[in-house]
Amino acid sequence: MIATLLDIVTSAAILYAVAAGLLIVFGVMKIINFAHGGFLTIGGYSALAVTKLGWNPWASLVFATGIGFVAGMIIERLVVKPLYSRPLDAILATWGLGIIIGQLITIAFGREVQFVQSPMSGAIEFAGASYSSYRLVLVLAATVIGVGIAALLQKTRLGLVTRAVIMNEDLARGLGINSGLVRFFTFSLGAALASLAGALITPLSSVDPNMGVPWLVNAFMLVLVSGVSFMSLLVATVVFGGAQVLVSTYVSPVLGGLTIVVAAAVLMRVRPQGFSRE
């Protein structure tokens, strides 16, 4: 019982960490970044590179974030910027980017499944149950990411400008805000967050060139039902992450894997605004 509850909390935390970068890009740029899965993969392989270089596994978090940010900067300028006015085409182009990233990684690292050294192992006693300590660390990491984004948006000047662009980009531009720069920074930040999430989740499983795709689809559904609110995203990850864990545990793991996509699609049909309050 406690284990299931912990599974729900940690699953929600992982989903939140994975979806946060996608949400901020969607909020500001109104496009779904299908390269998010690719950035996640980049993060996973950054962690693998750290393992292969024999560095401290914790360094992979910083390393992955940096690589993701740089990759995001390059891609925003080359590919995403020309597509501001064509959101459906932006989906396609970023999907193509995902393919390119996957293939480049395959060429560089090979297509086989590989394993990353975990920064910490073992289990700890928690409320009478023994639980993977790394999964609990992930809850902490997701909290840091969530609080960090909130602080960035609420407490900094950049955050204020970003919120203005989210609410009304035309008006913000009219007030002299360089929305192009906001978009540039946002996309790079989204890529960095995806890459960080990729590095965070790899110790739980393994890396392969297509590891980002299933995460992408789930994160994408969570973002769509959350509107552009990080609070809604939190609710969505807890509800859907919880449903996923329950279905996987008590019904079947395969159906569990489908829970989020199906539930989100149905939710949006009956309540198009999803978890956001209109």
Binding site: I32, V79, P82, L83, R86, P87, L88, D89, I91, L92, A93, W95, G96, L97, I99, I100, Q103, L104, T106, I107, R111, V217, F220, M221, L224, S252, V254, L255, G257, L258, V261, V262, A265, V266, M268, R269, P272, E278
Partner: protein, 607 residues
């Protein structure tokens, strides 16, 4: 279109000739293509023949993606699922039940029916009034993911991840399969070519350009898309069935969303909205893949990915228009066909039992956005033959009221009846059926359609379009013809609407709304940006409509001189409430109205 509605002389020979030449071109193209396919197996090696069988069937599915995405604007990643449904119908029945001609027919029927059922469910999920295009793409992505997982869980029954193979199938030569698949593709391409160029095909483009406006012209865009998706599903399922029969293997990859996205890539590279582009793109890429993926497995996919991104960013129309441009295929476009205008027999109250007791009746209509009350306690009714102007300062709620009148989802409370029919929570296309015609403030209906095509779209509800041809005449009601002739639109029937001047665009909008033959006409600032003579002309047409045809007109207008000249009644809105409802004289003399317009009044006052 029914010829019963046409009073004038039929068809200009030029258009009829053009339509015939279209048909002839398709026949010539099909015969040549079929001849090439007939000879090809004797020339090509076995490997190539085998690759092309698969390529033909993939291209048939790519065609459905092109019609849905390129023409209608529905980006779909899910057509692979229907291909897989057709393939698994064959694989499952031949493996578990056995093979005979009867079972083969049964498998085909099962595949097609399953595809129709799934397409219906997906269509219901994806397409409804107010759905975002992104959502439809999402659902199309979910479908193949779910289906693949279902197949994985099927264990031995579905063959799980390795699929089914080694089942018995038709005992025919590879050449025959080549001919069947090739013939299927040619017939589909020819049919699709005629369809997208027909009057009905223009509806797809109208939906792509401006779906909400289609709704307000009485077209059930959601239903059109569901039907289109279902037809595409059937085409894809048959292709999948043929694939399973010819290759005697089915696997989860053929239903998966990677295949679904590959289809989109092929269509994008070939050229969306060109039909031939996606077919050629699919054949080239798929056959190249079968040759090259062995030699440079990762690099080939990388090249495709790079090409895809570059095309989307730099050449969004794909490669086909580029190639077409090289060969000077554009010459045909210089002569745009223009149908002859004729007058349609009047069909007032089409689809209704008759005129209602009241044209419009509102009781306690409210509209709130959160705590902001834009409309509150709106009660009034309008009879036929009234020309009612709604006036009030900016933000008084005039346009919101227009919106509530034409879309049942808009209001937060209260009831609205149009010609005695309850607007309930009905979408705009249903309310158009009650006799509403709404002209929008901004005139930007369908960018890529010509004036004549836009007008025909507006006639869809009453006349119904031709599915595989183009009518040589365009029958419009008298009032619409008046507007067209008075503004000179008849001289630019073949011009794309986006190239018109502002005044002409306004006139086209008005003519389109009048083509609906509404009994209740909603006009949002019909004279904005027009010159004085144009304004006078529109005023005359409106008063004529009220006098001669008993129309009820509701007008939102800032030009108070115009309001004074033509209105029979005026309602003054202020801060979401009715503050005055009376004759023109009463309103003009009202101290209250002067105060409101000079900005002196802030709290809503009782009339």
């Amino acid at each position: 279109m029914s010829s019963a509605g046409i009073q004038g002389v039929a068809g200009s020979p030029a258009v009829a000739g053009k339509a015939r030449s279209d048909f002839r071109r398709v026949i010539v193209f099909s015969v040549v293509a079929l001849a090439v396919i007939g000879v090809a197996p004797y020339v090509l090696d076995t490997f190539m023949v085998n690759s092309l069988i698969r390529g033909f069937l993939y291209a048939a599915v790519a065609l459905t993606v092109d019609v849905l995405w390129g023409y209608t604007g529905v980006l779909t990643f899910g057509q692979s699922a229907f291909f897989g449904i057709g393939a698994y119908a064959a694989g499952l029945i031949f493996t578990h039940v056995g093979f005979s001609l009867g079972y083969a027919a049964l498998a085909l029927a099962a595949g097609v029916v399953a595809a129709i059922v799934v397409a219906g469910i997906i269509g219901w999920l994806s397409f409804y009034h107010g759905a975002s295009p992104l959502y439809a793409s999402v659902v199309s992505l979910v479908l193949p993911i779910v289906l693949t997982q279902v197949i994985y869980t099927g264990g031995e029954f579905t063959g799980s991840s390795s699929g089914l193979s080694g089942f018995e199938s038709f005992d025919v030569s590879m050449e025959l399969w080549f001919w069947v698949a090739g013939g299927y593709l040619v017939l589909l391409t020819a049919g699709a070519w005629l369809f997208v160029r027909s009057d009905a095909g223009r509806i797809l483009i109208a939906i792509r350009d401006n779906e909400p406006r289609c709704e307000y012209l009485g077209i059930n865009a959601s239903r059109v898309k569901i039907l289109l998706l279902t037809a595409g599903a059937v085409v894809a399922a048959i292709a999948g069935y043929a694939f399973a029969c010819a290759q005697m293997v089915v696997a989860p990859e053929y239903t998966g969303f990677v295949f679904g996205t590959e289809l989109v890539i092929w269509v994008a590279l070939g050229g969306r909205g060109t039909l031939l582009g996606p077919v050629i793109g699919t054949l080239l890429i798929d056959t190249s893949t079968s040759y090259l993926s062995g030699n440079l497995p990762f690099y080939w996919k990388l090249i495709i990915g790079l090409a895809f991104v570059i095309v989307i960013v730099a050449i969004p129309k794909g490669l086909m228009p580029l190639i077409g441009g090289l060969f000077g295929r554009r010459r045909g476009e210089a002569t745009v066909e223009v149908p002859t205008l004729v007058e349609a027999a009047a069909t007032p109250f089409a689809g209704l039992e008759g005129a209602g007791r009241l044209a419009v009746e509102l009781k306690g209509v409210r509209r709130h956005y959160g705590s902001l009350k834009v409309l509150e306690g709106i009660d009034f009714s309008v009879k036929r033959g009234e020309l009612l102007s709604l006036v009030g300062p900016n933000g008084a709620g005039k346009t919101t009221l227009m919106r509530c009148l034409s879309d049942g989802y808009e209001r937060s409370g209260g009831s609205i009846h149009i010609n005695d029919h309850d607007a309930a929570r009905l979408p705009p296309h249903r309310i158009v059926g009650f006799g509403i015609g709404r002209k929008f403030q901004t005139a930007n209906a369908f960018d890529t359609l010509t004036v004549a095509e836009s007008l025909r779209i507006a006639r869809t509800r009453i006349a119904g379009p031709a599915f595989f041809s183009r009518e040589a005449t365009l029958a419009l009601p008298k009032a619409a013809l008046q507007v067209i002739r008075a503004t000179g639109l008849d001289a630019v029937m073949g011009v794309e609407a986006k190239h018109l001047s502002h005044g002409m665009k306004q006139a086209l909008e008005l003519a389109m709304v009048l083509s609906l033959e509404p009994s209740v006409l909603l006009l949002d600032e019909p004279t904005a940006g027009l010159t004085k003579p144009e304004r006078t002309m529109i005023g005359t047409i409106l008063t004529d409509l009220v006098r001669d045809h008993g129309l009820c007109i509701l007008l939102v207008e800032h030009d108070l001189d115009f309001v004074r000249e033509i209105s029979s009644r005026v309602i003054v809105l202020h801060q979401g409430r009715i503050v005055l409802d009376g004759t023109v004289a009463e309103v003009v003399e009202s101290e209250l109205v002067r105060t409101i317009y000079s900005g002196g009044l802030h709290a809503p006052a009782k009339p």
